[in-house]
Symmetry: C2
């Protein structure tokens, strides 16, 4: 009877070792002085410095069906940044400095060069966010994902002193909302995006869109912006005058802004205060998407919002997009994303 | 032109909210006093207690193609324990107490009752391991996974005082290896298992296997054992006399034991010192798997190994399965898994 091996079943341990060889220098380049040990340990080790009352802030997220765009274009060096950004932007809103990151990568077939491309993107984004990539899992799941396809999830841990933790309690009437530009769609709403772009419009990934000055694939795959390098210095400089941050992630403006507000307060936003990027206007028009759905699904050009004390608003670069008022929910005026 | 909505594209935010409603009590039941806030924040918050020199130990892992067994049996309340166990057992080997856990769950279609079943398994395993489930992402990725199927990954963070960190440096010649029983296959080698069981043997999931006294599906889906409740008290009691722990995970005995050893030391193991469970003998025989492949792929009945100072070996329950010698690699004698 023929001998059966693990490799025959579609799991190639040698390809796994080759992947590790290809990524180890990218990974080591992210190490901060607090990292102990090296690749290959059972757990990633991080020596926490002295804090009075350290609060660990953690978050996990994936990239969703934006992955399908990477598969379509066969371009895998940007999706890692998306995974990092979705996590670090989440923990940032509570004032935490990202410390370390781990990635989970599940592939249909372990192609070392592809894994290296993906992890290089993860590592570069970690470095840009100041966090160390201290662990990860690359799982070869044959018969689960098609060869060449994969799923990725990220996990970030940050720290903040308890007294500096940003909570809804700080927000008060009259605070100013300052929007920071997004780099594009980031990593939300892609199921709808794909349906509009590829099903209704029938575009191929390399369809050149004159209004965008690039192909639709390039536009859609633009990696999610990393906000730590912009926001951490502001948090450090302005301290308690920063009353809140809002990561415009799944659920858009309507679901995310209330997460940063105390009971009884709401936000009123003037969407004419920034220029909604062309891709959002195109998606709205191509899909005849309602205005409310646009702001509930997409960032519409604003990926992070700072809620600040009015007295410092002029000192911060960004769209002065609204203010905090009494009430519930979020009111968005102008911007004309149709209806 | 027909309006397109996010929901039409296969992402149902209401189903997401319903899932949260179903799981929130399981999740809250895992909270330790250090957890701040509640479900719904951007990041999970954990107040770290006082340590002299805290080392954070983190790990991520998935369940691999064991998921296919859960799909086959349409039973989803055990796979969460697998995700937790694969992570906490990894961080445990460095002496860390698991503090908190986050899960990433990507589903083809968000079925709230199914998500609740999965997350209940995660939450119960977290509770049993003493760690709080403080975050998670449930992503509905239509067109990515078939409806009813999903992938899951876990992330665990633990802490250990620097002076108590278990590193290879402690291990010395003459140390005794004590094996702790596994609960079955745990979550490794399932691509090979499925090939043997379903392709070569042609079994259905409900095939009753007389030698096992149960169906093959029940046997294969047995959740991975959680070792923190066994090992943490031993680490506490015996301190530096515990020289190492080895989680027998992907790569089996041959790849994992060396991860706990310093350069120049190896282990010699007598596989007659425990009774290899029937499922492993069946898989070997059904697949005509080589002896080396068996010990490189499966735990063969031993899911965790303690490497201890010889003077305490008799005080610890478990298989006295081997000892540390000079040399390289791992030598496994006896046990007769054929060849």
């Amino acid at each position: 009877m023929e001998q059966m091996t693990y490799k025959d079943s579609g799991v190639d341990i040698d390809a796994g070792n080759e992947s590790v060889r290809l990524i180890k220098n990218f990974v080591r380049a992210t190490y901060r002085p607090e990292v102990l040990g090296d690749l290959g340990g059972f757990g990633g080790l991080f020596a926490l410095k002295n804090y009075d009352e350290p609060i660990l802030v953690s978050g996990t997220d994936g990239v969703g069906t934006k992955l399908k765009i990477a598969f379509l274009l066969d371009k895998h060096d940007t999706i890692g940044q998306d995974a990092v950004a979705m996590c670090v932007n989440d923990i940032l809103v509570q004032g935490a400095e990202p410390l370390f990151f781990l990635d989970y990568l599940a592939v249909g077939k372990l192609i070392p060069a592809q894994v290296a491309e993906i992890v290089r993107g993860v590592a570069n984004a970690c470095k840009e966010s100041g966090c160390a990539l201290i662990g990860g899992e690359t799982a070869e799941m044959s018969g689960f994902y098609p060869a060449g396809e994969y799923d990725i999830a990220g996990f970030a841990v940050g720290v903040v002193e308890k007294k500096s933790l940003i909570t809804p309690a700080r927000v008060k009437v009259g605070d100013i909302l300052i929007g920071l530009p997004s780099s594009g769609l980031h990593s939300n709403g892609f199921s709808l995006v794909r349906k509009i772009v590829f099903e209704r419009m029938g575009f191929k990934g390399d369809e050149k869109i004159p209004e965008l000055g690039k192909t639709i694939g390039e536009e859609l795959l633009t990696p999610t912006k990393l906000y730590p390098a912009i926001c951490l210095p502001l948090i450090k400089k302005f301290g308690e005058k920063i009353h809140g941050l809002v990561h415009i992630t799944g659920g858009g403006f309507y679901d995310n802004i209330p997460r940063a507000l105390p009971e009884g307060l709401s936000a009123t936003i003037d969407a004419d205060s920034w220029s909604v990027p062309t891709i959002f206007r195109l998606l709205q028009s191509w899909g005849n998407v309602s205005r409310r759905e646009m702001f509930r699904t997409f960032n519409c050009g604003v990926g992070m919002i700072l809620i600040v004390d009015a007295e410092i608003a002029e000192e911060i670069d960004g769209y002065k997009m609204g203010r905090i008022v009494e009430g519930t929910g979020v009111e968005i005026l102008g911007g004309d994303l149709s209806d």
